[in-house]
Symmetry: C2
Subunit: 352 residues, 2 copies
């Protein structure tokens, strides 16, 4: 195929030194080990001329570090969000000269086990275990074989693994503040969860935390949530149904939808009842899915910072990898990534 890779031995031969010396120079330890300036230059020149690049497989075998990390997630395909998360991780990794293995478990424990094994067989330096939507997970067995970080997931049992999560509670607060700031005091309804803390689909971390934030801010302002509708899967159809059902008995002035897909359905339902957004009803939402900017009027929403989550996971993983084993046994700290507000066109003062 190609004319065999250039090896360290080739460089050494051209420079007229031993492989040892060449290695020393190229790894920057030449000074420390008293290699003469002259020899150093010869090696550097030879390496440059031959376009030498160390074989990372070989280095991996010798030193045990492969400059490679594994990104294991439950799904890669669901929506663009996953892509952004991977993109963030990818760029952070690139800046550190590290490559990313990608793997998908589809939520199956057996696949997950095999995947982690395959990655360890390749001596990854660390693992990012990611979930595409925030949820609690059972930690897989082999996860402790290397440094690891949980991304968008909280462990069922307490564990020493650090985790990276969007700041959902603060996002809930933001959503509530948007309505408050616009002057809304009544007729605020929730679509997807609520109004009470128990009205939440099991396992949905996002629902719980967003609800906490919403209730906290509205409560502090002396505003009561007028009502809410729960559902498990936050899809447009559900948003349509739920909002329709709501409209049969209530006249909302503002809707907080628990994600943008629900909001899309809510828009359709409001349209069916001849109500205008935001003139008749204001709508705030979460996620900042691409459709949020395509809807008419454009949807005001609190964004899931997928890109930043991906980056943060790599950052935290590196910190973890650099850590001494001694200070292990600590509780895994939780890193919260802020969720920025995207103000668009779907919120107006009541009765505007």
């Amino acid at each position: 195929m190609s004319p065999r890779r250039v090896t360290l031995a080739d460089v050494a031969k051209i420079a007229g030194v031993s492989p040892t010396t060449a290695s020393l120079v190229l790894s920057g330890r030449g000074r420390e080990l008293r290699i003469s300036h002259d020899v150093e230059q010869r090696v550097l020149k030879a390496a440059d001329e031959l376009q030498y690049r160390p074989n990372i497989v070989s280095v991996g075998l010798r030193t045990g570090t492969t400059r490679t990390i594994g990104f294991v997630s439950d799904t890669v395909a669901t929506s663009r969000l996953a892509g952004d998360m991977i993109k963030g991780a990818l760029e952070a990794a690139r800046e550190r000269g590290v490559m990313l293995f990608i793997g998908e478990t589809e939520g199956e424990a057996e696949l997950e086990r095999r995947l982690l094994q395959a990655m360890h067989d390749r001596q990854v330096d660390g693992i990012i275990l990611a979930s595409m939507f925030t949820r609690t997970i059972k930690l897989p067995k082999g996860i402790t074989a290397a440094p690891a970080v949980l991304l968008n997931a909280v462990p069922k049992q307490p564990s020493p693994l650090p985790s990276v999560l969007p700041d959902e509670v603060e996002a809930g607060r933001s959503a509530a503040r948007i309505l408050l700031d616009a002057g809304h005091r009544e007729g605020i309804y929730l679509i997807g969860a609520g109004p009470a803390m128990r009205d939440v689909a099991a396992g949905s971390v996002a629902a719980v935390e967003r609800l906490i934030g919403i209730r906290e801010v509205l409560g502090a302002a002396g505003v009561k949530v007028a009502g809410g509708r729960v559902c498990r899967d936050w899809e447009p159809e559900r948003g349509l149904e739920l909002t329709r059902a709501l409209m049969r008995t209530e006249r909302p002035r503002a809707l907080i939808c628990f994600n943008d897909r629900l909001a899309l359905g809510a828009y359709q339902a409001l349209d069916d009842f001849g109500l205008k957004v935001p003139g008749d009803v204001s709508v705030v939402s979460f996620d900042d899915h691409p459709i949020a900017a395509w809807m008419r009027p454009k949807l005001t929403t609190v964004a899931l910072p997928h890109y930043e989550l991906g980056r943060a996971a790599v950052d935290v993983l590196f910190a973890e990898m650099g850590r001494q084993d001694e200070d292990a046994h600590r509780e895994g700290e939780v890193h919260r990534v802020p969720m920025p507000v995207r103000v668009r066109e779907s919120v107006a003062p009541p009765g505007a």
Copy 2:
């Protein structure tokens, strides 16, 4: 961290044989090299008890094959489509016991070069060079260092690399047939490209090929394309503008939108003019973006088979890797993946 990996030497020691013998047995060459049944069983048993797994880094160094392939694309984040493509590649790779490196070039040649280098440094067995939307690309220098496949991209210069592409021409035919079958004969307009072959944004392979298919089938049925509007970026806003502009002078009975995002904009424009889909105007489109199923009425569209494209790329790459070097120098063959029709609710007979 963890109690050191089990090595072949460990297995050999437990089984009371030499590492050579253990290696022979475990690589299945025991029979061939006359290892006794008894010894074979001992080795197998020891390996099983110790849960031995070969260190792929080591194997990679010795044999040069790492059971790893690189997936280099221009963007991973754009829409879910990319995710599906990666998912397809991932699953096909998993079935073959191969891991995937993911890399993103963002269209920058320099990044691409460095990425390919980083992958070759890790001795990948092959490379998939992917584009997220079909287009012509300039082949990077280092691409020939290992077997490679072009995914969703056609090389500017003729090259020996095989490529995998969606069958856009046939997709164009499908779109036209859908309207023909519904009884449409006139008032068919194109949004995004056309009506003539020259009315196409530069560099858009999909536009050209879809247009060929559309014109071929309509032409064969003696139906003339009533008109069309071109634009470069196929986004909802453009669809809205273009369709609005069209409506000022024309009364279309059917729209072929060059992708679903354009169709979303077209829906909005038709709504502005008080026209119903599909009662007044039928709409067909391409891509099968997630929003296609969320729109009302649901959009009939010819799907980009991203998942299958990803799978196909891995299949073709493996064929390439297994190929003898001798029959090189042939022209890279082009593999076309069919684009399936998703019939939904946006097409009806004219005047229905």
